[in-house]
């Protein structure tokens, strides 16, 4: 079942002619001809589409929070900041099938009566930004963007806006701050962006993969889409396989596929015939699963029931040769580097966690370190302005509890029993 990757390898797919020949922009034509904006919001609600950026919020419902009458313009921001470790799916759409995203943005903008949309693309994706610029220009030449789109009387402009290297700008309100030319520090919610967003105006922020689903939903209908996947997690999902797996890469599969099947069939199993030790199922911010916990289905509900999350769909596979203290120290280094510094528990707590783990890994652990780790993580959870604090704390709790003996072994033995990869550096400028 390929909705998003179906035309990925068609030669010249970045060109609008090729995209149109493959059925592209039919969804837009149909949306304009057969739906009013409100009907389109209803259709997306009926499809069951949920956000692919991490939180899984129902897309149609999010759209319906935008006030129907407002003196201010409504903005749409496509979130192309893709920075969650283990996630590399949006980049594939952007670089290989950019018009799928552009068409999705135009359809969403029509439903929301948006006249100005932004694509906030992470600064490092320089090539991706060039490709999107070209796609936007081509769509303008064909009359899919600009004034009086396809004779509908409706105007839309799309602007590609680069970030400059800050994971936190993927968080929707930090994204808005960044888009306004400020440091990317999350805002206090409420008010939610649907009411007070970019330039204090109603704003919808959607992930690239979320938006890329819209042409197919319009073309084939909400009922069709809702029939794929599970009852509450509809459609397909792009899963990103990385780490110690034979066939890393992005695969598109219906929501609800068993994790074991994803790893052993689609990913070809563990590298070098090694044994599986752990899997982080939804990007680095989601709690880890042990090898004996992978009989779980990859959808929002099943993973939540298993104590973890679908997140962004970044599946990080870890084999038996890996030291889990080292792995967690690496992740703590990531979050310490990326904390925006606004709230104390995150700004102070996450580097503290990183330092303890680095010391543990170096064989200088102290008897009360694990208690302190859990304590600091516990004090971060729920006490910060944005979910980055939780994202940093959750792996700590899951790694330490699930691999307790390994952590304790580092303290008791005053060394790392793996010693494969000394932790020389976890992060630098």
């Amino acid at each position: 079942m390929q909705i998003l990757l179906a035309n990925l390898d068609v030669p010249g797919q970045q060109e609008i002619e090729t995209y149109i020949n493959g059925g592209g922009y039919r969804g837009l034509r149909k949306a304009l001809a057969e739906f009013t904006p409100d009907q389109l919001i209803e259709e997306v609600k009926k499809s069951g589409l949920r956000g692919r950026g991490g939180a899984g919020f129902p897309t149609g419902l999010k759209w319906s929070f935008v006030p129907k009458e407002s003196s201010k313009p409504t903005y749409l921001c496509a979130n192309a900041d893709e920075g969650e470790p283990g996630t590399f799916k949006d980049r594939v759409i952007i670089e290989k099938d950019p018009h799928l995203l552009i068409e999705g943005i135009i359809i969403a903008s029509y439903a929301l009566k948006v006249k100005q949309a932004y694509i906030y693309i992470r600064g490092e994706m320089i090539r991706g930004a060039e490709i999107l610029h070209q796609a936007v220009n081509q769509a303008g030449e064909k009359g899919f963007l600009g004034r009086d789109i396809l004779g509908s009387g409706w105007d839309l402009d799309v602007l590609v806006h680069p970030g400059a290297g800050a994971y936190i700008c993927g968080e929707e309100t930090a994204l808005l701050e960044s888009l306004e030319g400020k440091r990317g520090q999350p805002r206090v919610k409420p008010p939610f962006p649907a009411l007070v967003g970019l330039y204090n105006s109603p704003t919808v922020i959607n992930n690239v993969e979320t938006l890329a689903n819209l042409p197919a939903i319009v073309n084939s209908g909400a009922a069709w889409f809702a029939g794929i996947g599970t009852k509450k997690s509809t459609g397909t999902k792009l899963f990103c396989l990385s780490g110690h797996i034979n066939r890393p890469g992005v695969v598109e599969l219906p929501m609800g596929i068993p994790l074991r099947e994803l790893i052993y069939e689609h990913g070809g199993g563990i590298r070098n015939g090694r044994e599986l030790k752990a899997v982080i199922p939804g990007g680095s911010s989601t709690p880890v699963l042990k090898a004996d916990e992978i009989d779980v289905n990859m959808d929002f509900e099943s993973l939540a029931a298993a104590g973890t999350m679908l997140g962004s769909g970044g599946v990080i596979v870890i084999d038996g040769t890996t030291c889990m203290v080292w792995a967690l120290a690496n992740l703590a280094g990531f979050y310490a580097h990326e904390s925006c510094g606004q709230c104390t528990p995150c700004r102070e707590g996450v580097p503290w966690i990183r330092d303890i783990l680095t010391r543990l890994e170096a064989g200088r652990g102290r008897a009360d370190d694990l208690e302190i780790l859990l304590d600091v993580a516990g004090n971060i959870s729920g006490n910060t302005l944005c979910p980055l604090g939780d994202a940093a704390a959750m792996p700590v709790e899951s790694f330490v509890t699930k691999f307790f003996d390994e952590f304790k072994g580092h303290i008791d033995g005053q060394c790392c029993p793996f010693k494969a990869q000394p932790l020389s550096r976890v992060a630098s400028g």
Binding site: E82, G83, E84, P85, G86, T87, F88, D90, R91, R122, G123, E124, M125, I126, R127, L159, H161, P162, G163, A164, G165, A166, Y167, S178, L179, E180, G181, K182, R183, G184, Y199, C240, L241, S242, G243, H244, P248, G249, V250, I280, S284, G314, I316, I318, T322, A327, N330, L331, F334, H337, E338, Q421, P422, S424, R425, V426, A427, S428, G429
Partner: protein, 158 residues
Amino acid sequence: MSEMIFREEALQEMERIRNRYPDKRAALIPVLHIAQREAGYLSSDCKEMVARLLDIPPVDVEGVARFYTMFKNRRMGRYLIQVCTTLPCALMGAEQMVDYLSHKLNVKVGGTTADERFSLVTVQCLASCGTGPAMMINGDHFENLTPEKIDNILAELP
């Protein structure tokens, strides 16, 4: 007079971008990218100039220039080598690649070679996790790194 630090075309490009936004300030990050491309790094002159162009307080420009990892506030080598060391790449041996590069170029992480040809830094996830270890040199991605591959990549740089 400090306008002179940018070429006329670059200034026009900055003005064009500024005019795309309802609020001039929103153009700050894209404009800083151009300034950095032109000058190599964001010197105080650059930042002052950008502040004037967008009509925002210099301290705000400074704050933004220091917040984002991609903005460099000091001179860097001609080639900025940025190796991802986040977990998925680290599982594939990213740290060994950093050590290899550091050794080969005789430069510490965070440093610049004596001839100012290379700066070596480690960075966070570059959205290339399925093809790790990954790095960027200036604007280009390089993936599935091995020491041999690194040798070839560096040898081919002009």
